[in-house]
């Protein structure tokens, strides 16, 4: 079956010739019309539309946005904050970058609609430090929007006021975790907070109720406010509504970003039809479907079970290529849709070396607060790095697994899971390669072999 057509609602103007990131261009393309209509509606209505839409957060966890907004403590009398999580840093993910650089006003409009719906008076955009241009573009866009009275005091004469400021991170991955981000915004080390009691919706920024939403999620909110939650829910599949942006990188002919109705495209269609298949003379070996912490899939393995289609339970028997790219299907086969970052590896890649690369990332990025994660991620890095650069032992796979198994569930934040899933899944799927690695090392590498660690 050929791949469906791309359906660009968030990336509508990305890479469009002549489209610029200034407010003039945005206004010529119908910009801020949705905000104008939204501020004449009741905030509760807008929240209701988002709930009806079934929108799931695009940052990685896929948590329903309407539910998140519903959890906000509105009775405390404290101000409510909204933070745009623009700390895009999960390896393999590169969608928010293009929204912020090429279409920043879309984000600002979505943010302002979300702020109005939730009676937020102050919003912050937390952008990762490695995007200095992005920060400047957003600051300029906010200034333009302020001059046009879409941001700031008494917006469009409604009496409603809301300010947005850009806040730059400084290279720490853990700031993508919402409570770590909040600590960082408070001017501290980004050590995530324990939940309970520190649910952002109740005790977030400055111990006030706080909403933290991903860049792309807020752009979806704009679309929902424009077309209504029910219309939005018609895109995609039940439970996985709207569109999803896939960021494909690694060993494919045409890496890049592609937006499709959620759940309508399979892994095989995405990688073969859309991305042009493997590089010449090579074969796909493995794919990580949702950012580097998602569990890896091995081409050739099969997934069997029962799944719900409508009200009925039907059998499924999928190869990697057959898996629909939605949160639920990927969850069913033991991995996750995460942030939409699809990393592809072909048959030139040795899995021990690929894991050593990933482990180096997580050990560098652990905040160091919880011992199992701080030590575990470091040990996993040291073991895999020794396997590649030093001596590899037959018992290394078992040792790695035992370290990885002792981390998840024993840490304050989900980084514990994120850093152990790669090791656990690489060993489960490619255990043979780990066992053979001491032998593999004895054979000379091809001269054009690519170093991974």
């Amino acid at each position: 079956m050929p791949a469906p057509e791309q359906h660009r609602i968030i990336f509508k103007h990305i890479d469009e010739p002549g489209y610029t990131n200034d407010i003039g261009c945005y206004l010529r393309n119908g910009g801020y019309e949705v905000l104008k209509k939204a501020v004449s509606r009741k905030p509760e209505e807008l929240i209701e539309e988002v709930k009806k839409s079934g929108l799931r957060g695009r940052g990685g966890a896929g948590f329903p946005c309407g539910v998140k907004w519903g959890l906000v403590d509105r009775k405390s009398g404290k101000p409510i904050y909204l933070i745009v999580n623009a700390d895009e840093s999960e390896p393999g993910t590169f969608k928010d970058r293009y929204i912020m650089h090429q279409d920043p006003h879309q984000l600002i409009e979505g943010t302002m609609i979300s702020c109005f719906a939730n009676n937020v008076k102050q919003a912050y955009i937390y952008i990762r430090g490695e995007m200095p241009h992005g920060a400047r573009i957003l600051e300029k866009a906010i200034a333009e929007a302020r001059a046009a009275n879409f941001v700031g005091p008494n917006i469009l004469g409604t009496g409603y006021s809301c300010e947005i400021f850009v806040h730059r991170g400084a290279g720490a991955y853990i700031c993508g975790e919402e409570t770590g981000l909040i600590e960082s915004l408070e001017g501290k080390r980004a050590n995530p907070r324990i939940k309970p009691p520190y649910f952002p919706a109740v005790l977030g920024l400055y111990q006030c109720p706080t909403i933290v939403n991903n860049v792309e999620t807020l752009c979806h909110v704009k679309y929902i406010a424009e077309h209504g939650g029910a219309e939005y829910a018609k895109i995609g599949t039940p439970g996985n509504t709207g569109t999803r942006i896939f960021c494909v990188s690694g060993h494919v002919q045409r890496p890049g970003y592609y937006e499709f109705p959620a759940g309508t495209i399979t892994m095989g269609q995405l990688l073969n039809d859309v991305c042009g298949g493997p590089l010449p003379g090579r074969k796909f070996k493995a794919v990580i479907p949702g950012g580097s912490s998602a569990k890896i899939l091995r081409f050739g393995e099969r997934f069997k079970g029962k799944r719900k289609v409508g009200t009925e339970l039907v059998d499924y028997d999928w190869g990697v290529e057959d898996v629909p790219m939605d949160f639920d299907s990927l969850g069913m086969i033991g991995t996750m849709g995460g942030s939409g970052g699809v990393i592809v590896m072909d048959d030139t890649v040795n899995m021990v070396e690929a894991l050593a690369n990933i482990n180096a990332f997580y050990s560098h990025e652990s905040c160091g607060q919880c011992t199992p994660c701080r030590e575990g991620s470091l040990w996993m890095k040291k073991i895999t790095s020794r396997m590649v650069h030093g001596q590899a032992r037959n018992e290394d796979a078992a040792l790695l697994k035992s370290v990885a198994d002792q981390i998840p569930g024993r840490t304050i934040c989900a980084f514990g899971e994120a850093c152990s899933w790669p090791t656990q899944s690489f060993i489960a799927k490619f255990g043979d390669e780990f066992k053979q690695y001491p032998e593999t090392k004895k054979t000379a590498k091809p001269v054009d072999a690519v170093a991974l660690v």
Binding site: S89, G129, Y173, R189, S249, G250, P255
Partner: protein, 161 residues
């Protein structure tokens, strides 16, 4: 601390963005680093006094975030992405090329003082791997040949100075 007047006015302005002064720690450190090139030894005390904190509150932030540096670097900062998607397409070779071109090692200032090469984690542009940031500019699809070309460009600019 000897900061430019415009840095000082930016510092005073950014503090007003937050209900608590402590929140301005990261923005202040960015501004000082942009002005001076790195964070000099008296940074912690200066920022702490400005934001009514203890110096340790600032120092612990400086040491936590990889982008803050306490030592000077070369005139240009070359950051090569090390993470998986870039590595799969030759990021390690790209990095080694820059090191060779400037006769330097990771994290050190090159002998001519021109560059510091760092191997950093994911720069969020995996679709155009391997990527490199030179100061504020992102360069895409930087294979060994393009790394050589960029190095030549930096050397040519250095000669003009």
């Amino acid at each position: 601390m000897n900061l430019k007047p415009e840095t000082l006015s930016k510092i005073d302005e950014v503090i007003t963005h937050y209900p608590t002064k402590r929140s301005a720690t990261l923005p202040l450190l960015h501004l000082i680093q942009e002005d001076v090139g790195h964070l000099p030894p008296d940074t912690s005390e200066w920022v702490a006094a400005k934001l009514e904190l203890q110096p340790i509150n600032v120092l612990e932030v400086i040491t936590f975030y990889p982008m803050f540096r306490q030592k000077p670097i070369g005139r240009r900062h070359i950051k090569v992405c090390r993470t998986l998607s870039c590595a799969l397409l030759g990021g390690y070779k790209t990095c080694a090329t820059f090191e060779q071109e400037f006769h330097t090692h990771l994290g050190e200032v090159s002998p001519d003082g021109e560059v510091t090469v760092d191997f950093v984690e994911c720069l969020a542009s995996c679709g155009t791997a391997p990527v490199v940031m030179i100061d504020d500019e992102l360069h895409e699809k930087v294979d060994g040949a393009k790394a050589k070309q960029l190095s030549d460009q930096i050397k040519a600019e250095a000669k003009k100075r």
